[in-house]
Each structure stands twice: as C-alpha cells, then as structure tokens.
Symmetry: C2
Subunit: 354 residues, 2 copies
DNA sequence: TTTATAAAGACAAACGTTTGTCTTGAACGC
DNA sequence: GCGTTCAAGACAAACGTTTGTCTTTATAAA
C-alpha cells in the first residue's frame, strides 16, 4: 500500500507556483519567497507553514528551466568526450560526476568521436542549452570559448582553458627508468594516435628522458598507432609489423594498457614469451591490467582524481575565482607487475622458441 | 590569423533576439519568425536575408532555455545509471548517446551507485531540470514516474516503463547447451549481486534450462556475488571459497566476464588450468574478453544496440506513440573461445597438478 | 474614387520563476 | 486624533523566446 500510495503521489506532474498561489490565496511571488527562504522578507510563521504544507501536498517542484532563465544560473555544465564506451574517459567522467553532483550541478555530455566539426559545434550547442562551463576530456580544442573551460589531457595553451594533465615527464622517468634498471637498451615504442591529446606530450617526454638515460630511440623501432579503437586490436597489428621487420628489441613501451594487451597477444602468437623474451610496459593502469595474464606493468594515471580536480577547478572559476592555474599536473605512479623482467640475453626478433 | 579571427568571433557571448531586433529595426518576434522559417508568414526575401546576415554577424544562438520554457519541449532526456566507470553501462550509454544526438536530443546523466534514496530522488530532479523522459540502465525502479521511462536490463513490470532486456532464457540455452555438449555435468554457478537488475532473471533462466537438460544444480556449487565492484576482484574470492569447500566441478558459469577473469585468476592461483581442469563461461563479451589469456568463451549482449533501442523507443513515446511494448527482448549470441573444453575426466576440486 | 485584399511587420501574451518596489491596514507614539 | 512606522503581501517587470492577433500601408480590383 505504501508503495501504491507513493506511486500515485509521484505520478502527478508537479504544480506551478501559480497553482499553489491560487490554492493558498496568495500571490506567486510570496510563495516563492517562502519556499526559497529569502532573507529580509517579513512573512509570519503561520503563513510559512501553510505554504510549505501546500508545497508538499501538491508535490511542488520548481521548474529549473524558468528559474535558470530568471537567475541566469543553470548549475549545469557541459562535458565533451571523444567516446563514451571507453575506460579512460568514463573513469574521468566518474570523478567529474561525483564532484558535480555533490555540489548540486548536473552535466550534459556529448561525444564527438574526434570529428573536428563536432568538436567545433558541440561547445556552442551545450552553451545554448545553458552550460555555464565546459570540461573537455581528451579533446583537441582549437580556440578559446566564451565560457570557462577545463581540459583533461589537453595540452594546447588556450586563453581561458585550464589544462589538467598527467606529469608526463615524470611518467617517462618512471617507465624508462624501470626498464633501464632491468637492463633494457633495445626498446621499441608505440606512439599514440595523432588525434589523441596526450600523444605528443607523452612522446616528447619519452624522447627527453631517453636522451638523459642515453637510450637510443631507433626510428625503425617506433611504431605509430593510427586506428580509433578502444579494444586491444589497437596494438596487435603494429607489433606484428614490428616483428616482421626483424628488428632486435627486448622491450616495448606501449601507448596504453589496452594496446599493451594487443601487443602481448601479438608476441604470444609469434611464439615469444612475455616477459621472458620481450618485456611490455603499459600505461593508464586500467581495471583489468592487474588481472590480465600476465599482470601488466604500467603507469597509473589517477583518472578519477583528474576528473574531480577538473570539476573542482571549473566550479571555482564559475564562482568567480580569477586566479586559476593555466595548467595543473598530477603525478603518475609506477606499478610493477609481471610483464617486465630483465632482458633475455639472446634477445631477438622472433622464433626465440621452436 | 584565421584561427585568431575565429577565436574572437567565438568569444563573444551570443546576442539575444532583442539585440538583433534593435539592430535591424525590427521587433524580436519578426526575427524569430524568420530564423525559424515559420510557415504562413509573409516576410519579403530581402528582409529575410538581412535578418540572417545579422544573425551570423552577431553569432546569434537562441537560448534553448527560453525556447524550452515557451514551447514546453526541452529535447532533453535523463539517463540514470549505477556507475559511470563501468563497461556495461557505458556501452549502453554509447548507443543511447548516438541515437539521441542523431535526433537532436541531449541528455543529463546521473549515477546513483545503487543507493535507493538516489534512485528515488534523481528522477524528480532530472524532471525538474526539464528531462522529458528517462532511460534507466540496470536500475531497480520501484514505482511509476510521471514521464515516459525505458529501462535497460530492468525486469519489474511497472506501468509506463518499457523494459529492454536480453533474452535470458535463450542465453541460458546457449551457455548451458554448450557446456552440456562438451560433456560437463558438474557445473558451478555464480549468482549476480542482489542489486543488479539482471541477477534474478538470469538465474531463473539458468535454473529452467538446467532442469530441461537434466543438469543438477547443487546448492553447494552455487556462489553468490555480493560486492559492488567492476573489477575482476569481484569473482576472485567467491571462486576461492568454492575451491576451499572441496567440491567437485568441471565448469563455472560466471555472472559476467569481469568476474570470469577473477575466477580464472583464482583457479590459476590454485594451480588449476583453464580450460584443462575447469572450464569458465563468461557473460557480456566485453572488449577484453577476446584478448584475455585465455580468450573467454561468453555470451555476447548487444549492449550498444540495446542502448539505441531504448533511445528509439523513448523518442517514439515522446512523439506520442501510445502502442509501445512493455518489454522488448534482444537476442544474445554464443561466442566460443578458449576457456571452455571437454571436462578433464579426473576432474577434482584442487591440486590436479602437483 | 472607393473598397477589398494582401503584404509586412508590430503588438501582446505566455511559459514559470525571482526580486525590487509599492500598497494596505493596523498598531503605535504623542 | 493624527502622523509615523511596520508587518504582510500584492504588484510588476524581467529573463528570452514563440505565436496568435492586430495594425498599417500599399496594391489591385471595381
């Protein structure tokens, strides 16, 4: 019965302020004043009670649309993301969502699949739908926007855009340092797709750290990811190609964990063992990395934190905080697991086992 | 320079209809009429051009807030989801997003982490924010709502709620049929968490099909998932527990692929081989299942399709289509990979290998 | 020259709020 | 008895659109 009752209650469309006012014999403004506890208005306690009781009775829900129009605040922000069905993005979104909802904000999200015209168009639409600010995840913005913007994993310096990024230099130090310590010198690298915002930054950091460690980066040991995939298939063909070129290498630094899984599969299909013959180093530390077989050595990005941070900064900016940073770097973490080991001395391109 | 130009253009806040009208020496209504191509209004072509030119010049973007208020249409729907950082949910959302955006709708999403008060509260809030309808993914709604609702993986029959579900009976036929054909008779089962909407339905289907096939379901071979996790850790402890109970079984039917990965890890840690000693059957066919080592045999849910279907039905209902189905079942697909094989004849609880 | 017709666009109301100002009584001080 | 003050709430404007109706002016028909 209680459920049934509730059902009925909830079924009626919310009443407007005007309906309430008519019922109470008051004017809408007064009702609004009471319900919002506007200070500096003298309304007797008795009337206040009456109004509140009526609001409950009619299941009054203010129209946030109308309120937004009037107050010019929507408490809504836009979230722009390349792809919804992707672990990286959604982990960041999860952090964003947590913080926003905690603060009473909601968000409209849109995905663009890296199509430039969508990246151009969506911010406008989101704004016309009332977004007060924008969080862009892994999205290559090209110019300033007439609202506060925080970019997660964005690297271009754009006026009005705060970049929340991983400290890629530190990440490269951790990954290359680890491989170097194990004894690896012949290292193959995977460069991220051109449309992925982190690609260049991550590559530049690797180059810089490699130089510092005196690790040579051989162009023939560098493969470039091209496809727009979020499955391990991403890393498979490029490693196959690497193997076919018959180059010598003892380790691969993958662009991310997903691609690392594909890489491992390609090595395995070529009868090479990981990490016996080739070490594989991932990036991101997605949920599954710890459960892959073998467990993947990787760099952990605090994705959820990055999302929360992005949301926090955006909200601060909305509250008028002017002195916001242009860039905020969060520290990566080295997670050593089972895909890295000292190099096999007779390391070789292929057919290491019969 | 072109970029710079664009930047400046885009930087100004959009002008209102009134500003435009003043500039043109017209009244706002007329401008609106032109910009919306309202039929049955006589405005000379010359004026129309003038108006459109001005709109471009001022980068006019109508306020959808104001428009929504006036037209009582927001073209926004709400999406309710337990968790953003989860492959299942986001794959469905991806399908939803695709369809909605194709049709010019946007969506507000909210996640509730299975907290009943949030599940109760968010639909209201979303509605007061203008959502015209709701899509609830894997969310246990308890009563009708004053707007059209489509539930993905919802099973309670609630007036006004359309359920988009997998055909679980068919799924059970595929999975148990496959194991049966391979020769398995001693099968362990994992039941989903009580808060997961599919759990009961899936279990009931398994029970029904097992009876039909004459497979005995031994209570001591049934373990229950409890934790609210989206990592393989979900399946690890329950399988450990199963192993410790020293029961005999040759296969495990996992609640999903994620838990299957944890299960495989637990078996491996107990020195059992998959599928040599124990076959493992997953569910969902997430991206990684094909790349796990060994590749996981599973049931594919067409998640993206389910999302698209949900969105399509909701939009139809918003357009006034009354004769909508109360339930719509989509067919699963059997994906045979490497984690299932004929049972090891000396099958046993543990220590099958020294 | 009048009258009917149509073109071009102005006007006003409405959507549901919020907020600054104004009105009405009543109570109070003197 | 009269002005002053205050409580209680009404009023109106505004947010930026849309849409039905009304007005003005020009044109064509009679």
């Amino acid at each position: 019965m209680s459920v049934r009752k509730k059902a009925e209650e909830t079924l009626e469309k919310p009443a407007s302020l005007k309906i309430l006012a008519d019922y109470l014999g008051l004017c809408p403004a007064t009702v609004s004043v009471v319900l919002n506890d506007v200070p500096g208005r003298s309304i007797p306690q008795k009337t206040r009670e009456r109004v509140r009781a009526a609001a409950r009775k009619f299941n009054y829900q203010p129209s946030l649309l109308a309120r937004s129009l009037r107050k010019k605040r929507t408490f809504t922000i836009g979230v722009l993301v390349p792809e919804l069905s992707d672990g990286y993005h959604t982990m960041v979104m999860s952090g964003i969502g947590d913080h926003l909802m905690r603060e009473g904000y909601f968000y409209l999200s849109a995905h663009h699949r890296h199509k430039p015209d969508m990246i151009e168009e969506y911010p406008r639409i989101l704004m016309s739908r009332g977004a007060e600010g924008l969080i862009a995840i892994d999205t290559a913005l090209s110019h300033p926007l007439p609202m506060p913007v925080v970019a997660v994993a964005g690297h271009r310096k754009i006026p009005g855009v705060t970049n929340v990024v991983l400290d890629h230099l530190r990440a490269a130090e951790l990954s290359l340092g680890h491989l170097y310590q194990l004894g690896h010198r012949q290292i193959a690298f995977m460069r991220g797709q051109p449309f992925s915002a982190d690609s260049d930054e991550r590559w530049n950091s690797i180059v810089a750290v490699a130089r510092k460690l005196n690790i040579e980066i051989k162009p023939e040991l560098v493969v470039q990811l091209e496809r727009d995939l979020t499955s391990p298939e991403l890393g498979y063909p490029v490693v196959q190609q690497l193997l076919q070129s018959n180059q010598r290498f003892t380790a691969i630094v993958s662009f991310n964990d997903i691609a690392a899984i594909g890489a491992i599969r390609a090595l395995r299909d070529a009868n090479l063992s990981v990490p016996g013959d080739v070490s594989v180093f991932g990036f991101d530390d997605i949920n599954l990395s710890a459960y892959h077989n073998p467990r993947i050595t990787t760099i952990r990005q605090p994705l959820r934190d990055m999302g929360e941070t992005a949301a926090r900064i955006l909200l601060q900016r909305l509250q008028g905080f002017k002195n916001y940073p242009q860039e905020l770097a969060v520290p990566p973490e080295l997670i050593i697991r089972e895909t890295t080991a000292p190099p096999n001395k007779r390391a070789l391109p292929r057919r290491s086992r019969p």
